[in-house]
């Protein structure tokens, strides 16, 4: 168990370093004079030179890469070219919003997807199952920004059930989280369904039935826990695609989260901020996978002894 986690940790670190490397080259190829981004387009030559010196812009790329990694080793993600704010600080300020939004959304869609997946698996191939299948496919075909706009207009503005935007309290996150949940619930309902179907066909579920266990007991005590194991893996992996969805939803609902920060920094060519957000989300994904690994051992006793 420990060796496995350590191996995973080692590979995660390698992956993250690779990601840092990748993003560094990616964003450093961005056209346009960075110094002008920093100082404004009308800055004098003197000021531009100072900035070149300050940010080591004239150094060879490899030297800058070296600097960047040394910085990273100190936990420093650099400063924004546009606002001079520390990237780490910007991320720290914005992370709670994204975390709360995501957390709320995960709760919502898991609460919806699990019963749907279980019921469709139980009543496999019924009209109910087929309907939910189509609804689920629709759900994963919705463009997040579009759905967010439509719901914002209709539920928040027209009907006034929710605040239109911004983040002042948890109430403000209800609609954005529900939007995100709607986008994800289809996928997860199907995932639970697929795993549940497999588990319901398994001998131990038959054995549980043969014992005289009630249907509810069979579904929830015997089948669900087994069916959720792959779902939890997927949840961990999905943090990445989730950040993609969050990005648009934060944008539409004017939520000050990581996604919005990323969009802003790309539009502003704010290189350190782009790298910061990319690296941060990569870390988040790797971290989430790691947590899933830990959870796995707890949920599935077979893993623990498997060394």
């Amino acid at each position: 168990m420990l060796t496995r986690l350590l191996t995973r940790f080692w590979w995660s670190t390698v992956t993250l370093l690779g990601t840092a490397f990748l993003t560094f080259f990616l964003v450093n190829a961005v056209p346009g004079d960075v110094a002008k981004v920093i100082a404004g387009s009308k800055a004098s030559g003197e000021v531009l030179q100072e900035i070149h010196a300050k940010y080591h812009l004239d150094d060879p790329v490899l030297k800058r890469l070296g600097f960047y990694f040394i910085q990273l080793a100190h936990g420093d993600l650099g400063h924004s070219y546009v606002t001079d704010q520390a990237v780490a600080e910007a991320i720290r300020i914005r992370f709670p919003t994204t975390a709360a939004l995501t957390g709320l959304a995960v709760l919502m869609w898991v609460a919806l997807a699990v019963p749907l997946g279980v019921l469709t698996a139980r009543f496999r191939n019924s009209w109910f199952d087929r309907t939910i299948l189509v609804v689920a496919t629709v759900s994963l075909s919705l463009p997040s920004f579009w759905l967010a706009r439509v719901l914002q207009y209709w539920l928040a503005y027209k009907l006034g059930w929710f605040p239109v935007g911004f983040f002042r309290g948890l109430v403000d996150l209800l609609l954005p989280a529900a939007t995100l949940a709607l986008l994800m619930v289809g996928y997860y309902a199907r995932l639970v369904h697929t795993n549940m179907v497999e588990v319901l066909d398994s001998p131990y579920v038959r054995a549980a039935r043969a014992k005289g266990a009630s249907e509810t007991r069979v579904l929830f005590k015997h089948a669900l826990r087994n069916a959720l194991i792959p779902v939890i893996t997927m949840l961990g992996m999905d943090v990445a695609s989730l950040l993609g969805g969050v990005l648009f939803i934060e944008n539409v609902f004017a939520l000050p989260g990581i996604g919005n920060l990323a969009v802003q920094s790309v539009l502003n060519l704010d290189v350190p901020m782009i790298m910061g957000t990319v690296l941060f989300s990569a870390t988040l994904v790797v971290g989430a996978n790691w947590v899933v690994d830990l959870l796995y051992g707890w949920i599935d006793p077979r893993i623990k002894s498997a060394g």
């Binding site: 993003t23 990616l26 961005v30 629709v138 994963l140 579009w146 996928y187 697929t194 993609g244 648009f248």
Partner: protein, 315 residues
């Protein structure tokens, strides 16, 4: 009967066997036909010019007209025919979507095959690289990529130069080429992983072992034995990947870093239309519905094919 028509018949039979797949295929076919026919429809004046500003398209307040008032799906903020723009938008979305899917499939299948077939160090390196790509949300990666690629313009003639089939002309306006490459480059890792897993399974089967024992070359093993066996999976994945690439393309358009105007791109149409939501909701609803329908069609096709072909991947 040529072998080709046999293949098509077979595909048709397969697709019709599943109602989901059939629905999906039908919608895609419809959009594809409309997209291909758009220039002809335009020449026959059955469709307005998607890029032509038209003062008649605006009401007395200078606002877009709602659906019905002389325009089936209304007009946009510049008085352009929304129906025409949506149909022309299908050209962009389908072309970019399918082209990115092909790019992603090419990379994904190659990486997956090599990784799974050769294993060892190559596998380790390729899979690490895949994982790195997976750790960054694809939209974020695409955003970073987009700011990288400069403007290249290119016209693609899908017909021999000698033939005047101009309906097959597709102009890759500035950005379109880069957009599909970007989307292709960020969409392959998932595919690579699944292909690799499949290859690992097929590789151990008797007939591959037998072929290997008979001294078949690596190329022959991959081409004649592995590829045909993973093809069903790849086809299902390709359909679902197309759904995602179209969504991604719309997303980039929405952020203003996709295919540039005046190309009627669905995502861009939503961005341009959303300030009008309170006044002319059709400017957001219509292109959005087009995206949903197309993406849904590809997802249904993928879902249906998966049910038909049996191997269970992700739903």
């Amino acid at each position: 009967m040529s072998p080709n028509s046999g293949f098509f018949k077979a595909s048709l039979r397969i697709i019709c066997a599943n109602r989901l797949a059939a629905t999906g295929a039908l919608i895609i076919l419809l959009f594809a036909l409309l997209a291909l026919a758009a220039p002809t429809l335009l020449r026959l004046h059955l469709l307005g010019d998607p890029n032509q500003l038209n003062l008649n398209g605006l009401d007395q307040d200078g606002m877009p007209r709602s659906p019905g008032q002389g325009y089936w799906l209304g007009s946009d903020n510049l008085g352009r025919d929304v129906l025409s723009r949506v149909i022309y938008g299908a050209r962009v979305s389908l072309l970019v979507g399918v082209a990115s899917m092909l790019t992603a499939t090419l990379i994904g299948v190659t990486v997956g095959l090599l990784s799974g077939f050769y294993g060892g160090k190559l596998d380790l390196v390729l899979m690490r690289f895949t994982e790195m790509n997976l750790t960054i949300p694809s939209i974020l990666l695409a955003m970073a990529f987009t700011s990288l690629i400069g403007d290249n313009g290119r016209v693609i003639h899908l017909h021999p130069a000698a033939l005047p089939w101009h309906f097959l002309d597709i102009t890759l306006k500035r950005g379109m080429l880069s957009v599909f490459l970007v989307i292709g480059f960020v969409s392959w890792p998932g595919m690579a992983r699944i292909v690799r897993a499949q290859v690992l399974g097929v590789k151990e089967r008797e007939f591959v072992q037998a072929a290997r024992a008979l001294g078949a070359s690596h190329w022959r093993l991959i081409w004649r034995h592995l590829l045909p066996n993973i093809l069903p999976t790849v086809i299902v994945l390709a359909a679902m990947t197309t759904a995602n690439t179209i969504l991604l393309e719309a997303g980039l358009g929405y952020l203003g870093i996709g295919v540039p105007p005046p190309a009627p791109d669905w995502g861009t149409m939503i961005t341009e239309g959303q300030p009008y939501f309170a006044t002319a909701p059709h400017l957001v609803i219509v292109p959005g519905a087009a995206i949903v329908l197309t993406v849904l069609a590809f997802n249904l096709l993928g879902q249906g094919l998966q049910e038909l072909m049996g191997p269970r991947q992700k739903p």
